[in-house]
Symmetry: C2
Subunit: 413 residues, 2 copies
């Protein structure tokens, strides 16, 4: 008998009917002799509705009070789900973040979990109850209510799984698992039986959007096996676990892509490399995420530097660099909009040096121009024209044989 932590997102608890469906999933785990802790998000669009109320009062609502407001969303879900379980004759108890002992840092809107005091949850489990916990929220040591920001409920679930030394953390969502590429766009995309934490992290960061990177990182650090699965369909999901215990490493496990990328170039920097920190430090201070960075020298000893940002940050970049113009001493700034990033991810790359070359060849042979490139040990990203993004993803999906089933499926218990 082990402890299973489940997490159901907003869509999965979006109506009374769906909340009833969740009780089925809980019963299924219990019938296998497991103890169950279920973490839930706010119902459907209710968080957006609460934010809408706050925006009627202030364009920039006080952060502490916004947390106070938003925390009610999950509290509604936990109480309704627990009522539904009790109505079925099952012993259950709901706990808010603070009741569940989820202690966070003193930051509002984006707090990190510092510690989980599992006493209350463990006592409830020991008394035979199903424990329903409000995701996305916690409290500081001073009893201030905080929220965890985007992906917060995933993080709550993984953190509880870790604190309870759970056997598994099941992330129920509106997709059936993790795919080799987004099946809405890429032909032949198929669900993976398993993926490593590191691969998942790259995919999450690349905008695949199934799991929040913070939750994956937490799972990796504490070695909690995750399963991404559907709350609607009864299908095997995708295991996310340590590479070492996976049956087979694929050279490339998946293709990710995201648009709205802008390439910015700073021309004629007089002070050479020493200017780089004068560019990127103020951008970081203004919470602008810079992705790929490329430096280049020209004959007349001027330095140019190019970097990619989200298109929505372009104006902010221009503002910051204008302010810093005297410090950086550049000539002018130019940019290229409507770009996209296409990436291949796979932990098998480390031992396969030809992967990047095959990627570039495949794209070039079909006439797709690569504007920027970046690589990590398990990822290669290429920036291309937004209009060619899907085509590029499809080319790479086929080139790396991702539409062919190569893995043997034997992970999990």
């Amino acid at each position: 008998m082990g402890i299973i932590v489940q997490k159901f997102g907003g869509t999965s608890v979006g109506s009374i009917e769906r909340i009833r469906n969740v009780t089925d999933r809980i019963v299924e785990e219990m019938s296998k002799g497991n103890q169950v802790v279920t973490v839930v998000s706010a119902m459907g669009k209710s968080t957006d509705e609460l934010v809408g109320l706050a925006k009627q009062i202030s364009a920039t609502p006080a952060k502490r009070e916004l947390d106070m407001l938003l925390a009610t969303g999950e509290q509604v879900t936990i109480s309704l789900l627990t009522m539904a379980l009790i109505e079925r004759g099952l012993p259950a108890v709901s706990l808010t973040g603070w009741q569940a002992g989820i202690q966070t840092e003193s930051v509002h809107g984006n707090a990190r979990i510092l510690h989980i005091d599992t006493k209350r949850i463990s006592n409830e489990l020991a008394e035979g109850r199903i424990v329903i916990v409000a995701g996305f929220q916690g409290a500081t040591v001073d009893n201030q209510i905080t929220t965890l920001g985007r992906g917060g409920s995933d993080t709550t679930a993984v953190a509880i799984a870790s604190a309870l030394q759970a056997e598994r953390c099941d992330i129920y969502t509106d997709v059936t698992g993790v795919y080799t590429a987004d099946p809405r766009f890429v032909k032949g995309a198929r669900q993976l039986p398993a993926i490593s934490y590191d691969e998942m992290l790259e995919l999450a960061n690349l905008g695949a959007g199934v799991l929040h990177p913070r939750a994956v990182e937490y799972a990796k650090n504490y070695q909690i096996p995750l399963v991404v699965r559907s709350s609607m369909e009864r299908k095997d999901g995708t295991y996310v676990l340590e590479e070492a215990i996976m049956e087979q490493n694929l050279v490339v496990r998946g293709v990710a892509f995201e648009k709205d990328t802008t390439k910015m170039t700073v021309f004629g920097m007089k002070n050479g490399l020493s200017s780089l920190s004068t560019i990127f430090t103020p951008l970081a201070k203004n919470h602008i995420n810079v992705d790929i960075i490329i430096q280049s020298y020209t004959d007349n000893k001027e330095n140019n530097v190019s970097f990619s940002v989200k298109s929505e940050d372009k104006q902010a970049v221009l503002n910051v660099l204008e302010e810093q113009k005297e410090m950086i001493q550049y000539d002018h700034i130019d940019w290229e909009d409507k770009l996209a990033k296409v990436s291949i991810v796979g932990s098998g790359m480390i031992s396969n040096p030809g992967v990047a070359a095959l990627m570039f060849d495949s794209l070039a042979s079909q006439g797709i121009m690569i504007k920027m490139v970046s690589t990590s040990e398990i990822k290669v990203s290429a920036v291309v024209d937004e209009s060619e993004m899907i085509k590029a993803a499809q080319i790479l999906h086929t080139a790396f044989h991702l539409d062919e089933v190569l893995e043997t499926v034997s992970v999990g218990k």
Copy 2:
């Protein structure tokens, strides 16, 4: 500089616009140099909506979970009101019941406040903040969220006022104060400048509905002056305070009335008076409130007993007494529906023995038949036909000169 506790009910915070209006009231008190603690209810019909969700899941939702659910209603209001204050540049902080130190007994749905740990509220006031507290809710010593039942926010406000030794507790509502009778029905009804706790208690219990009896009792016990006033109009309200400090005691301060009364009569009780507890103990155990009780003997030594109940409880009474038939040994039960109770209240009655007689005479002379009577030191109630209720109230209002202004208005500070 004193502490003023304010309470705004659901209607007074029923929209974003009304929440903004509440900030005006807070600013007014602050501009007089007072420290302000404001207790709020859930917005408009939001509690009903939450109950509606719960009822979709269960006809009898688990009480602990219903408290968990309903407590979100006030939490939404406190955060929005606090945002609105901060948006106006005022320092403010919201506190849930548990954060405000409101400790209740371990009962769900109708918990009583045991104790208020004012440390948190006092600290926030000392740091110059307006403190916005969620009404209607608290927590047990085991950190379970509880709600206080009907009139809960009134009780929260009065209890906080008492714990902080506040100068005054202002109950903002959708009426401008306490009236000599309900002005929607009784011609010449006018607002009272002041009323004693005891009179208010009788009126509250008699269904005047402005203030919950529990809150009045609390205020009386701790000698907290209450003011019932309008959240919409800027008018003097009605002071509720100790009789001794009022300028003048009226013989009769007000007329109250409520319909949906049923008179039930148990005929032919074989065991005489000893049967009474066999009737009323099981009724009490089934949470049926019995109001007026009348016993009568007939010649053949059988005992009859009549009592009044709310009409909605009639069937429950019949069920309970049927179960107890062998124990009570009665002959049969009869009842009379569509009755109403009309009452006069006034602390001056004690020293005016003719009051009840004048009441009976006034009604009889206009052809209204009295079916039952009960009296206390400051109240006389008569049960009449529902169809004659308003007429009776109007007769008494005129007979006791309630439409004439007799009081001098000089209460308060």
